[in-house]
């Protein structure tokens, strides 16, 4: 099937829209991104597929992920004329019962996350809401109103969890490739760049550079221009790019196609980290499908415009996310950054003008073209437009992927959407920006997510990792952790980064082992500012951020490590021990049974004690005690 015109797209949209919304059968969508699969979605899918093989009334399908990772595997079940219901935690042993439950009128309320108020994406205003006239179930909340989803606005994630990522027709059914074909047929490249400029879209990979300006600069330089997608996603704790690639790969291809037409490029590359095998597989399928529809390849839709995309996999080097290192790696070289006296938009990959954008940046482009720059810039704050996807992880109840308009407060994300810290523990900080970012303390939780405002408190927006930390997280250890990460990942070619990080790490390691000295904090600050000033690439210049922000906001924790030789959070092993509080201990014996060292003893129903000689501080008892009887001293 060759697609030559908007009419062709329209035909496919008509045909597949009904499959998405009025399938004529009971349709079961199992969320199958890699974390869903890890949580058991594949087994659930296989079980249901086998049970209903050949059944004309029930169709088992896969989708990407709808973001609420905490409740994975998520399974949506729907049929014509009935509400669409999202079931949660549907593992292999539950899936058949869940389908049965849906067919019998929905009584397992505890298994249900919500019913959908509107399954359409933001581009489908010309399609009727399929559940508009359906009588909703009483006493089942609307998915759009459960706290996790309430404040979300899905632009980049518009299709994740709603379509089968391996099916280009379903992407088209939700207005996919309309923006590209319209741009190709009806717009001038310069016009497209102007729209992207006016939208205020800024790069989502971390730097936040205005996308339209980057495109315009690249288009100005003569030569064989390249369009590159950064899917290296190196920030540990961030996985929105993975989710987009696994749940909606065509949105990235379409964004790249639009960039290619606007900038004037014939060849694109996607640089994906090899820790993401499923993303690679889905991308390969998507590229093949787009090629066979004539949306990628030579002479696209008879316009003379040609564009091909090649996938290249990384090999586990964080620094290869940096633009110049990434391009070196694409050439099959060692991924060392170079000084950017000449920018990559002028001389990048193969020494040619190269436009590099992040996955999420590209995924935002098609809606901007379809709905207009004004619509996009209407979302967000003065300097930060649109939405941003965050991966909300760590010590938070509702872990998952959230897409929110810029300007929403950190508090709303962590507490309203994320549900706060679990197990009645106390919130301590939220880390944004990964190894280049900082730890933001409670007093700044009213801060809006905005490039400038996050920078003012010493952090950055970064690529979207948002790691929540609680009373059990030691901030000195977190600083040590990030430097350890960066020491491993530094490419080692410049002194300030290689030696500076190593020295800072040595000091922090000493502090964590109880050998900190007066003056260490000041030394860290001094070294930090040296590394910031004199490193060559962004890895080095931002490396001290986690250390400097934790010193700024959690200085007393450093001081108790150095002066009192205590780790208040109970992480640095040489600086604390566990003790059982005899008042609180009920003598339930749970801890004693779990202790791998047999260090805990006591009679049933009497307070227990820990033999400090035997204890290796593994923390198993601390996590196991339901009565908070194990104290950190």
């Amino acid at each position: 099937m060759k697609i030559e015109s908007i009419q062709d797209l329209e035909k496919i949209k008509q045909q597949y829209s009904s499959g998405l919304y009025n399938p004529g059968v009971v349709k079961v969508n199992v969320g199958m991104a890699s974390c869903g699969i890890a949580a058991g979605a594949q087994a659930a899918y296989d079980k249901a597929a086998a049970a209903f093989e050949g059944d004309k009334d029930v169709l088992i399908c896969q989708t990407g992920c709808i973001g609420f990772c905490e409740a994975e595997p998520l399974v949506e079940i729907f049929a014509d004329g009935k509400p669409r219901v999202m079931y949660k935690n549907i593992t292999e042993d539950r899936i058949l019962d869940a389908i049965e439950d849906y067919r019998n009128g929905v009584s397992r309320k505890k298994w249900i996350l919500g019913q959908l108020r509107d399954p359409r994406c933001l581009l489908e205003d010309d399609v009727d809401n399929p559940v508009d006239k359906v009588e909703p179930y009483e006493d089942i909340p609307f998915l759009e109103e459960v706290p996790f989803y309430k404040n979300q606005v899905k632009v980049a994630l518009r299709n994740c969890g709603y379509i089968d990522p391996d099916c280009i027709e379903q992407y088209i059914a939700r207005k996919g490739y309309f923006a590209f074909l319209d741009a190709l047929k009806n717009k001038e490249p310069g016009q497209i760049i102007d729209i992207v400029k006016a939208s205020g879209l800024r790069g989502r990979g971390g730097g936040g550079f205005p996308t339209g300006i980057k495109w315009a600069t690249c288009a100005k330089h003569e030569g064989e221009r390249y369009i590159i997608c950064n899917a290296d996603e190196g920030d540990p704790g961030a996985y929105m790019d993975r989710s987009i690639l696994e749940g909606d790969p065509h949105s990235v291809l379409e964004g790249m196609l639009i960039a290619a037409f606007a900038i004037g490029s014939r060849q694109g590359f996607i640089y994906v980290r090899n820790e993401y095998p499923l993303a690679v597989k889905r991308l390969m399928t998507a590229i093949k499908q787009a090629e066979s529809c004539g949306l990628l390849g030579d002479d696209i839709a008879g316009t003379g415009f040609s564009f091909n995309i090649k996938i290249s996999t990384g090999a586990g080097a964080f620094v290869c996310g940096e633009s110049t290192a990434l391009m070196a790696s694409l050439e099959g070289q060692v991924g060392r950054p170079r000084a950017k006296y000449v920018h990559t938009v002028e001389k990048g990959f193969r020494n040619s003008p190269s436009n590099l954008n992040n996955v999420e940046t590209y995924a935002n482009v098609p809606p901007i073209l379809l709905k207009g720059a004004d619509w996009y810039s209407g979302l967000g704050t003065e300097h930060s437009k649109g939405t941003k996807v965050f991966s909300l992880v760590g010590k938070v109840k509702n872990t998952g992927l959230v897409e929110v308009p810029m300007g929403i407060s950190l508090k709303e994300i962590v507490f309203s959407i994320g549900g706060g810290v679990p197990k009645k523990k106390k919130f301590k900080a939220v880390q944004t920006g990964g190894p280049s970012g900082g730890c933001i303390p409670e007093k700044y939780m009213d801060l809006p997510v905005d490039y400038q405002r996050l920078a003012e408190v010493g952090s950055i927006m970064g690529s979207g990792g948002m790691i929540v930390m609680d009373q059990d997280t030691c901030m000195v250890d977190v600083a040590r952790y990030f430097l350890d990460f960066l020491k491993e990942e530094s490419c080692g070619q410049c002194n300030p980064c290689r030696e500076g990080i190593k020295q800072m790490l040595d000091i922090l390691t000493r502090i964590c082992q109880g050998e900190g000295q007066e003056g260490d904090i000041e030394l860290l600050e001094e070294l930090g500012s040296m590394v910031q000033k004199f490193s060559l690439c962004g890895l080095g210049t931002s490396a001290p951020n986690p250390v400097l922000t934790t010193i700024l906001y959690f200085r007393q924790e450093y001081e108790s490590h150095i002066r009192d030789k205590k780790c208040p959070a109970g992480v640095c092993k040489k600086l604390f021990h566990y003790e059982i509080d005899s008042e609180a201990c009920t003598g339930c014996h749970v801890c004693a049974r779990k202790c791998p060292q047999e260090a805990i003893s006591g009679e049933k129903k009497k307070p227990h004690v820990i033999d400090q000689e035997k204890c290796i501080k593994c923390g198993i008892c601390y996590d196991a005690c339901k009565f908070n009887a194990i104290a950190i001293r």
């Binding site: 974390c35 890890a38 540990p236 060692v334 991966s391 992880v393 872990t399 593994c618």
Partner: protein
Amino acid sequence: MNEASEIQTRQDPEIDFRQLDDIIEGQFGNDKENLIMILQAIQKQYNYLPKPALTYLAAKIKVPVSKIYGVATFYATFSLEPRGRNIVSICLGTACHVRGGDRVRERICETLNITDGQTTPDGRFTLETVRCIGCCSLGPVVKINDDMYGRIGSDEVEKVLNQYE
């Protein structure tokens, strides 16, 4: 060199050069820009990068062996030593770290009596650490071969490892 890897330094396996041609030429068109992906494919085939394969590769794509070694040692994925039958990858990404990933690592190291990058003397396990495999919501995460274990507690480590021969 530690004891565990010394025992591992056994003879390089038989290299089937036709198979290498399939990778280098067939899949990747003898193109040196594809070096990293070629190395990945070779590692997939042999579980590590055998020396004779790299020498052969150097000649095929006309890149000095020293440069190939440079690339193979720069990127964390590659191993120049044979690895165990089962690859245990412990995630030490930030999300897993704050949820106790380090304690899980300690338990695994104790149970197997090896540290990161080492292989057990019987060749049963190789231990690796990774920085985020994108399943942070399930942290702490351990991956053994292609199987993912999420929300793993340090007290569950032994049971999980025992499933692998």
